[in-house]
């Protein structure tokens, strides 16, 4: 995941704060140890090394993760695809932004996951797991669960500033309010969240000298290309995981997949920002 995590719990004394903070850090570290592709010794890295051509056993937690991935892959008609690692890596290596050759060889369709046997196998060498559009939501669910178990009734949690959760309501009453400006820094969308999460996906801006340039970082398996539209998608959901997965999936989806997603996820709210204007929909 390799990203920044912030947790704000209002009205907490120092001792409790340290204790909750410590436990949350443990959850983060434990989950990162399973899901990250940036550490050689994570479970995910081990699977990526070993699973081509032979079924390898996975931990219970990884099995739950893969089960959830499988459901999302089906319910988004493949717009969410956590097995495109080779495509993603290739882009970083070659800076070739339209490298679609491996797409057919990569992807979840080439993953054989057997939940009861708890094994995974890749049918092609190009297949590899990347939980980039999933992990933050998954961990956020765990942390919300932990805090609720401790009877914390208000908290604001931000994961890399792209997946955000408002637990309970603001201590002064009413929902947590989040302001998400368009790319130009203006025309913000104001989202009210109470026991809800939002997740934002879109073009990543990187600083080059003085200007900020968009860099595509979401790959659309259906369109077989990197998403280069200047567009942000925000998904609001009671489930941080759904918000996270769907915001990426909606950015990647073609029209057919979009229709399917809107139909399959009735309780989520979808917003899109194009040409510096927010509107409902995707």
């Amino acid at each position: 995941m390799g990203t920044r995590f912030n947790l704000v719990i209002p009205g907490m004394d120092d001792r409790d704060g340290k204790s909750y903070g410590g436990k949350v850090s443990e959850i983060l570290a434990e989950q990162e140890g399973i899901m990250t592709r940036f550490q050689e010794n994570s479970e995910l890295s081990a699977i990526n090394r070993d699973a081509f051509g032979k079924a390898v056993g996975v931990s219970q937690e990884m099995s739950r993760i893969l089960g959830a991935c499988d459901l999302f892959w089906r319910d988004t008609l493949g717009a969410f695809d956590p097995a495109l690692l080779s495509v993603i890596k290739k882009k970083h290596e070659t800076a070739d932004e339209n490298n679609s050759r491996q797409v057919t060889a990569a992807g979840w369709k080439n993953v054989k996951f057997r939940p009861h046997a708890r094994t995974i196998q890749f049918l092609t060498g190009e297949t590899g797991l990347d939980l980039g559009g999933f992990g933050k939501g998954w961990v956020m669910e765990k942390i919300v669960g932990y805090l609720k178990g401790k009877n914390i009734d208000a908290a604001f949690i931000s994961f890399g500033e792209s997946t955000i959760c408002g637990l309970g309501s603001h201590p002064l009453g009413g929902p947590w309010q989040v302001n998400v400006p368009a790319k130009n820094g203006q025309n913000p969308l104001v989202v009210n969240i109470t026991d809800e999460a939002i997740s934002v996906s879109g073009l990543k801006l990187i600083k080059r000298e003085n200007e900020k340039l968009p860099v595509p970082h979401i790959f659309s398996p259906a369109r077989e290309q990197w998403i280069a539209e200047d567009k942000m998608v925000l998904v609001q959901s009671a489930s941080p995981l759904k918000a996270e997965v769907l915001s990426t999936a909606c950015s990647a989806a073609d029209d057919h997949q979009k229709m399917h997603i809107l139909d399959a996820f009735k309780e989520e709210r979808f917003y899109v920002c194009e040409k510096d204007e927010w509107r409902n929909g995707i």
Binding site: G2, R4, S162, P171, L172, Q177, N179, P181, G185
Partner: protein
């Protein structure tokens, strides 16, 4: 012990390096080859900041003498350094940039005439010459500054200050390397093959220990400085494996210097591959310095700064304000992979300390006394460089013979 703070103060100009108009420092340069010419150039260009001026030049090789004389035409020129010392009576100090085996004579003669000496590293070709230079230094009380410029390089000073402040914790290992890819030869004028050994002195055993005295000496100084100690033993090996062109010095070497506390300084150098360039890494249980490239890494990276939106939320909560949390202002960078890249030791890494050394030399000349602790850095670095060569030559672990210990002279500590 030479504390980094003391030298930081020197290059910050504390202790009045600056001159008044009638407080000039006149310098002679002995050996106007490549290094001598460069140092003379630095003083000509920037020496006025320190009131320094080169008024005499000496070299036995006419083309080199003329080259530097053309740059500083007002300087007097000599072919024999003894004549220079006799005649150029205005001199306060000399800069010695002759080949390694010609360091001791001019240094000792200059000190004995009451001059302050800046002599390029390493000190000398032999242990006895090195020791004789030390004796002259303690005998005369003048300053003998050896040209290990990292002692005056701001990134090394600040980095070393981190070591001395315990920011790295216990220094458990030091690693350094210096790699180049060239034959290390200087062109010999056509039709004068007899000049080969004179021009390419650094390739021949009589005059040089090659990679050790030319390069390793610098990092040995840094390692001792970081350890606040001298090695107790050195082992090493090396060979001529690639440049088999008649040279006598190794083209690849590897050395391990052991310290009293059981830690090692591991060094290697070669001239057949330049991929890794040069580096000196000081490794402690809390952090790592990569001094040549100006980097410092903590073993436990500090938490990243809070994003603006979270800062705003915290302020609002503290002031009981019901605000909106701004997420994704213009600095918004979702899903950025946060990797810890360490921190720069100094913000502006634009000098290697070569000129800054003259701040120290100017101070020593003006106060007519050495900077305490400085000479000893150069001495032990030079000595252990030569012992490293012995280790390579004998294949044995080499210790410093008792007689070269200079603590009997009660080296001055910095106060």
């Amino acid at each position: 012990m030479l504390t980094p703070i003391s030298l930081m103060k020197v290059i910050a100009g504390e202790g009045n390096n600056r001159s008044t108009p009638n407080d000039k420092i006149f310098l002679g340069v002995i050996g106007t080859g490549s290094r001598g010419h460069h140092l003379a150039y630095l003083i000509k260009e920037y020496g006025h900041e320190l009131g320094m001026e080169v008024t005499a030049l000496c070299d036995v090789y006419q083309p080199h003498l003329e080259h530097t004389h053309a740059m500083i035409p007002e300087a007097k020129v000599y072919n024999d350094y003894r004549r220079m010392l006799d005649e150029a009576t205005e001199l306060h100090g000399v800069i010695i940039c002759t080949p390694l085996h010609v360091h001791a004579g001019p240094t000792i003669d200059s000190l004995d005439r009451g001059l302050h000496v800046f002599c390029e590293k390493a000190m000398a070709r032999t242990l006895d010459d090195t020791y004789a230079m030390a004796e002259a230094y303690y005998r005369t009380g003048k300053s003998l500054h050896i040209g290990h410029q990292r002692l005056f390089d701001p990134k090394f000073l600040r980095g070393m200050n981190k070591v001395y402040n315990d920011d790295l914790g216990v220094v458990t290992q030091i690693r350094a390397y210096w790699h180049r890819n060239n034959d290390w030869r200087r062109p010999v004028p056509e039709g004068q093959p007899e000049l080969e050994r004179f021009i390419n002195w650094r390739l021949y055993r009589d005059y040089s220990c090659g990679l050790l005295t030319e390069l390793a000496s610098h990092h040995i100084q840094v390692a001792n400085w970081a350890k606040k100690a001298r090695p107790v033993e050195v082992r090493g090996t090396g060979s001529i494996s690639f440049w088999r062109d008649g040279r006598e010095v190794e083209d690849n070497v590897a050395l391990i210097f052991s310290y009293d506390d059981g830690t090692q300084f591991i060094y290697d150098s070669m001239i057949q591959n330049r991929r890794h360039g040069l580096e000196v890494q000081v490794l402690g249980h809390k952090g790592t310095l990569e001094l040549e490239t100006n980097n410092f890494f903590l073993e436990e990276p500090p938490p990243p700064p809070k994003p603006a939106g979270i800062v705003q939320l915290l302020q609002d909560l503290e002031q009981n304000v019901l605000g909106k949390v701004p997420i994704g202002s213009s600095s918004w960078d979702p899903e950025i992979a946060m990797t810890y890249k360490g921190e720069s030791i100094v913000a502006d890494n634009n000098t290697d300390g070569t000129f800054e050394q003259f701040y120290g030399f100017a101070k020593a000349i003006r106060e007519d006394k050495p900077i305490p602790g400085l000479f000893e850095e150069g001495y032990y670095a030079s000595l252990w460089t030569l012992l490293g060569q012995q280790a390579i030559d004998t294949g044995k672990a080499v210790k410093m013979p008792e007689k070269y210990d200079i603590s009997k002279f009660n080296p001055r500590e910095f106060v």
